[in-house]
Symmetry: C2
Subunit: 357 residues, 2 copies
């Protein structure tokens, strides 16, 4: 089937770009001797997780236990659930998953660690440390005692540390001071742990904007990038890729048009309402239509200002839109289509879509 025969809205992946993105990060990790545990929350598709493993990833990362169940189909030898697992139903699910593959949980409290130990199955644990983001993660000063308590718990194998530097968007300007502080705090924490003979085997860090700087953070030996497989406007806006590296676009049809204004058949239920992380306006870019501004959305309507667009399409014609944030967009689609040379050569079901528990 040719891409022009796809019903809209449809999420399409340029496979040549995706392959290049996958190879670039696999090579980077290999070159710098970094373990690569890609976060599969971006694609939620086991076949793509498998491809990441085949390219050298040591394991896969997921956010939730239901996502972990789905990603078992990629047959990972190692699965990191980068989220505290709390509640009886989730723990039971975790027990079943851990029978099928090695599972590691990232957590930041003894409240989250104890029930894991009580499960009676062998699990890896990464202690999450907050190095400035202010999300999850224990304060660095609380980490040594938490590690000591976890090491003492049966059935838990303390692997090391995890952190997510989501508060740093680059290495210049005010981000320079933030990353310098992060390097110092990590260095100090590793020293403290080493003095206590608590040497982490794994220090798992990295984020999309800092991805290719990961090797400059002393101590870090693992990265868990997600977005890099597709990239999106956010990634490009933060300078971590170019627009030519964005593999995912949403194909949409013009359903209404008036002077200076057109409506496409996708809104917040197709793109998500995510704004640009860098603060810019708009909900997507139409590369083939310079001057077109995708400025507003309702649930099923995308508002595009075409006053400054010389070649605006007519009702019934199609546009391709680069989304702001691909991870939340994928989660809205039942299928994702892989395109090569204009032909649809892959149709993947987003098996992990809506797996929230």
């Amino acid at each position: 089937m040719h891409i022009s025969e796809l019903e809209t809205p449809a999420l399409v992946i340029d496979l040549d770009i995706m392959d290049r993105n996958l190879a670039r990060v696999a090579n980077y990790a290999r070159e710098h001797n970094l373990r690569l545990r890609p976060h599969t929350k971006t694609h939620k598709i086991p076949a793509l997780g498998r491809r990441q493993l085949d390219l050298g990833a040591v394991g896969l990362t997921v956010a939730k236990t239901t996502e972990a169940e789905v990603m078992l189909d990629a047959a990972p030898e190692d699965l990191l659930i980068a989220y505290p697992v709390l509640g009886q139903a989730k723990l039971e699910r975790l027990r079943r998953i851990a029978r099928k593959t090695r599972v590691t949980i990232a957590l930041d409290s003894l409240e989250a660690a104890r029930p894991l130990s009580d499960l009676g199955v062998d699990l890896g644990v990464l202690v999450e440390v907050d190095l400035g983001l202010g999300r999850t993660g224990a304060a660095p000063t609380d980490v040594p005692s938490l590690v000591q308590e976890i090491v003492a718990l049966p059935h838990l194998d303390w692997e090391g540390l995890a952190f997510y530097p989501g508060h740093i968007k680059g290495l210049t300007g005010e981000d320079e001071a933030k990353s310098a502080k992060l390097r110092r705090d990590l260095h100090d924490l590793l020293n403290t742990l080493t003095a206590l003979r608590l040497v982490p085997r794994i220090v798992s860090g990295g984020s999309t904007p800092l991805l290719f700087h990961s090797h400059t953070f002393a101590g870090v030996n693992e990265i868990r990038p997600g977005t890099y497989i597709f990239n999106d406007l956010n990634t490009a806006a933060m300078g971590a890729c170019s627009l030519e590296d964005c593999a995912a676009t949403i194909l949409a049809t013009v359903v209404s048009r008036r002077e200076g204004h057109m409506i496409i058949d996708g809104g917040s239920k197709t793109f998500s309402s995510d704004r640009l992380a860098t603060g810019g306006a708009g909900f997507g870019l139409l590369p083939a239509f310079p001057g077109a501004v995708f400025h507003k959305m309702n649930e099923e309507h995308g508002y595009v200002d075409i006053h400054e667009c010389q070649n605006a399409p007519a009702v019934g014609e199609r546009v391709q839109v680069l989304p702001n944030h691909i991870c939340v967009a994928v989660n809205l689609h039942e299928q994702v289509y892989g395109i090569r040379g204009g032909e649809v050569v892959e149709t993947w079901t987003v098996a992990g879509r809506g797996k929230l528990q």
Copy 2:
């Protein structure tokens, strides 16, 4: 099962409130002799569409043809697709749907009408007119000629007009002038059409904030509200309901907590990134925890500031959160749970979730 046994995050519906919401609008429509064609995009659940029909709705509204397929399970005698249907695959789907029930399409161009006529099946058509929102809808001055052209097309039954006054959030302040203009424009358009002997049988209007004022818009004889079944913070913020009328909440677990700050296990993939339509900050309200401020989200993390909260929950404890915009939140969940007296008495699959085509 008790609500406390549900895995989180989970979208739960207080059925007593939902029943009250459904009855209120059904009674309002009956009292004012308004046809009620509820928009099912809010719940996307056939069983709830059926309930709306049983309470007197004359038909159901959907946004897309795939949603229409799903909503056939509610056995509506009349289905309005309030969106232009463009493209061969959608037209074929529409043909199949129209064999099973009467279908009406809202559209605003001849480009959208001609292929419907060419399908060779009987379809109703509402001409959408833009009365100020600036989304879809023909300009009022273009409506008479469009209606004449549609009336001349075989297999199409021109039923009347549809509009959506989404630019008006109330009847006071600057909205007063907007609604006065809408009344004038509608009045003039109806006069023009009548003079041309083009008398619409249906004038379908209404929106959630103006819902209970619909009868004051002369000429309007049908409403298509959606959100009223559950309501949400947006509806309350616009004054169209009280907080006590909000039936839907998202149950979440505290997964991490530090001084002044906690993280719940739902973010933009659970709530959506929709801001408050009235411009207020925050992504949801925690009624049981006064002072808690849900101020930020990542995909799976909700950031709640608890500096001003006296009774903040511990790690592992649960919160119920009223979402900003329920229509996009439902679309993120596989199941919705109906609660009465603390017991889960209904489990509905969101069958129309992700039906974008």
